[in-house]
């Protein structure tokens, strides 16, 4: 079942809950609507379900007009945030409800209904709760029953409104995994609403980021994380450093310092620059785009976080994975020089007057002392891949180099460089879980827009 939404508008008084939304959902997809509260994501879901009506716009299922039908006829499974189980019915009767209210002509006989309910309770692994009442179940159990109830009518589409919002963190994580595998099993076109970015990025095939009744970006979890389309998405997903910049005569300036970023096509004036914390590195003075002093370095978990006062006065926090052996030394060095430069991969500057342009052609890495085990990023797939380590330098003239991801080595990846030099490279795991998928694909060839710095491999693998 494909769903198509065209130019949907819904107003509550003067407040526009949906302000011209266009969306296409493919068959069998698991789509997340992600946004802060009040962004219109639940309204969109309810309109698709037929529980709300738009002021204007179109909704079609497989090309046929869905707005011509009521919620009853649409055959849509809806799962509510607060479960909405029928409190006076047992779990069994709750699940059986959709089958029992079918018109007499197509209603199945009692034994078929019983068998179907049993099957669904098995599917959600709660068959032993059939005779309980909703009040006797835990939150996670209630939500699974609500899902079984929605699936009983063999819905063409499954819609979930903040399905895990009312659950505690641990149960939420379990159910996320469970929902993914369940979707894999039943393969019904599904849309779920969430305000939890981790949930959206982890569960969904595609993520729709919404704000103020508009869609900000539609893309794979990697896309919305790595190449945010708008300033809102950059700020909303993942942690970002936001810096006020000026565009002036083709140059992007932060304070009185011009940044080595291409500014072609950008209108002059004030704008904002977004950078991911983990895309910045610390290097020796003069090697990077920013200048500043490291104030504190803290180690926690897999990352090392440095608080840096930039020369322009702003204070930012950057993340770098700590490294064994060298980690301590690096740590010390971070403290030692009073004004080390900060090397960074600059994300695309985004602002109201910034047109879109490809972000990764403007990646910048600065050189630091070459050694292995320096931070690197490995990604495979159709989006741009880059490896960056302290011993790799991106030069403006440098072309892409190929790299083979060969397999796992301890906590990292082993990558083999092609062209120029064969070299094993230990790549620390990315912090984000999405990347596990990439790592599980050995021997995938990746193109990278960075090139080894000529010469200097003193360190062996």
């Amino acid at each position: 079942m494909t769903i198509e939404v065209r130019n949907l508008v819904k107003k509550f008084g003067s407040f526009a809950a949906l302000d011209g939304v266009d969306l296409k959902v493919d068959n069998g997809e698991l789509l997340a609507l992600l946004g802060p509260s009040g962004s219109g994501k639940t309204t969109l879901l309810r309109i698709i379900a037929g529980l709300d009506w738009p002021d204007s716009g179109e909704v079609s299922f497989n090309g046929e007009d869905a707005l011509a039908q009521g919620a009853r006829e649409r055959n849509v499974g809806f799962v509510f945030q607060h479960y909405a189980l029928f409190r006076h019915m047992t779990v069994f009767e709750n699940v059986a409800f959709g089958l029992r209210v079918q018109p007499r002509a197509i209603r199945k006989d009692e034994s078929t209904i019983r068998a179907r309910v049993k099957e669904l309770l098995d599917l959600v692994q709660l068959d032993w709760l059939a005779d309980r009442y909703p009040s006797q179940l835990s939150g996670g159990q209630r939500q699974r029953i609500a899902l079984a109830r929605a699936l009983a009518i063999e819905p063409r589409i499954l819609l979930l409104d903040e399905p895990f919002g009312a659950l505690d963190a641990k149960v939420r994580k379990e159910l996320r995994k469970w929902l993914r595998s369940l979707h894999h099993e039943i393969n019904v076109t599904s849309i779920f609403v969430t305000h939890d970015q981790e949930e959206a990025l982890e569960v969904a095939n595609r993520v729709v980021v919404m704000d103020k009744g508009k869609i900000e970006q539609i893309g794979s979890p990697d896309d919305v994380y790595e190449t945010p389309a708008t300033a809102f998405v950059h700020g909303f997903i993942g942690e970002s450093i936001e810096l006020p910049v000026e565009v002036e005569g083709g140059v992007i300036r932060l304070g009185d310092r011009s940044l080595p970023l291409a500014a072609e096509g950008l209108a002059p004036g004030a704008s904002k620059l977004f950078v991911r914390r983990h895309d910045m590195l610390v290097g020796p003075p003069g090697s990077g785009a920013f200048e500043g002093a490291v104030q504190h370095v803290r180690n926690f978990g897999p990352v090392q976080r440095a608080e840096v006062a930039l020369s322009g006065g702003e204070t930012i926090e950057i993340d770098a994975p700590p490294r064994q052996g060298t980690a301590r030394r690096r740590h010390d060095r971070l403290r030692a020089p009073p004004l080390p430069d900060i090397c960074e991969r600059l994300s695309r500057p985004i602002g109201s007057n910034f047109p879109k342009y490809s972000p990764f052609s403007h990646c910048w890495y600065a050189t630091t002392a070459p050694h292995l085990g320096a931070p690197a990023h490995a990604r495979c797939g159709r989006d741009t891949h880059h490896f960056a380590s302290c011993r790799l330098r991106r030069q403006r003239s440098a072309g892409p180099a190929a790299v083979h991801v060969c397999g796992h080595v301890g906590p990292g990846l082993q990558a083999r460089w092609a062209g120029g030099c064969d070299h094993d490279l230990a790549i620390p795991p990315k912090q984000r879980p999405r990347h596990r998928r990439h790592r599980s694909r050995p021997d995938a060839a990746c193109r990278i827009p960075v090139r080894r710095h000529g010469g200097g491999q003193q360190d062996g693998p």
Binding site: A71, R72, F97, V101, S135
Partner: protein, 303 residues
């Protein structure tokens, strides 16, 4: 009698005493000394006894003052039987009407957003805030010989005032808020999600109402009906204005009690009054049971 009550209050099971001992330090901080407690409880008990229990006892004492035979004879009087019949009829009519109107009003207020909603809520409370006598007079003004519809009704030979329809109308008016008031908060608290779930599962409007909405509010409905019924049977003011006090025809039980009392027929008056008092007691017990069910219903709601 009061001493007894005070005694029984101070009696605590050993079990509870042990618990109280454990939390003694705590208790001392927030409770009054024992003597003060006993005085306060005794005062409340004395007050209730004088103002509530005593009158109730007197009603039954007077009713049975000439023996049980006189009591039964008083109830078997044709006038008394007619009054009981009329009261039951009027109560059944007004409860039936208010059940429908109350459900509709509560449904509209709790489940939909519309203009004039606050106005509607205020209107529902109107019968409570107006004196019953005024409520009765309103119907006289509407349906009386000099009233707005008086001429038309006379032309068509329809008798409303000083007849059963008038009494039923006045009673319905006075008792309207009970069902609606019992249901509105309950339905508002339950929200519309279960109904939405039912509809998305393919249930029709009627199926949703009978399979989901009604089972959820049934204790609330019973509670409203119970209070509505008690008031309908006991209503005096409004009914007195519209009934015309025609013996054996338009006298309800409360009206008959007054008439009999004014005629110094104490046994008969109190016999009827004892029926009303029993109704009150039964209502009280049923109300307690229903309230327990309502509380449970609330526990079942999520979170």
């Amino acid at each position: 009698m009061t001493m007894q009550i005070a005694d029984s209050v101070s009696l605590v099971s050993p079990d509870a005493r042990a618990r109280a001992h454990g939390a003694a330090a705590h208790d001392n901080l927030r409770t009054e000394p024992r003597a003060v407690r006993i005085v306060i409880i005794a005062l409340a008990m004395i007050f209730l006894s004088v103002f509530v229990v005593l009158p109730l006892v007197v009603v039954f004492a007077q009713a049975f003052s000439k023996g049980i035979l006189a009591y039964l004879a008083a109830l078997a009087e044709p006038e008394a039987l007619a009054a009981i019949r009329l009261t039951l009829l009027v109560a059944a009519t007004s409860v039936g009407l208010n059940l429908v109107f109350g459900l509709v009003a509560a449904w509209a207020i709790a489940k939909f957003e519309f203009k004039g909603k606050t106005f509607l809520i205020t209107l529902i409370d109107l019968p409570f805030s107006v004196s019953p006598v005024i409520s009765g007079l309103v119907f006289v003004l509407l349906f009386g010989a000099q009233g707005y519809f008086g001429g038309w009704l006379r032309d068509h030979d329809i008798q409303i005032l000083f007849a059963v329809p008038g009494i039923a109308l006045a009673t319905t008016f006075v008792t309207f808020p009970f069902v609606a008031r019992a249901l509105i908060p309950l339905m508002q608290e339950q929200g519309t999600q279960e109904e939405e779930a039912a509809i998305s599962l393919g249930a029709s409007g009627l199926q949703t109402f009978f399979r989901v909405t009604l089972p959820n509010i049934k204790w609330g409905v019973l509670y409203g009906v119970l209070l509505c019924n008690a008031r309908a049977m006991g209503e005096f003011g409004a009914v007195s204005v519209v009934s015309g006090h025609i013996r054996g025809e338009t006298n309800t039980m409360p009206l008959l009690v007054e008439i009999l009392y004014n005629e110094y027929q104490f046994v008969a008056a109190f016999a009827i009054a004892s029926l009303l008092a029993m109704l009150a007691l039964i209502t009280l017990i049923a109300k307690t049971v229903l309230e327990r069910h309502l509380d449970e219903g609330q526990d079942i709601s999520d979170h």
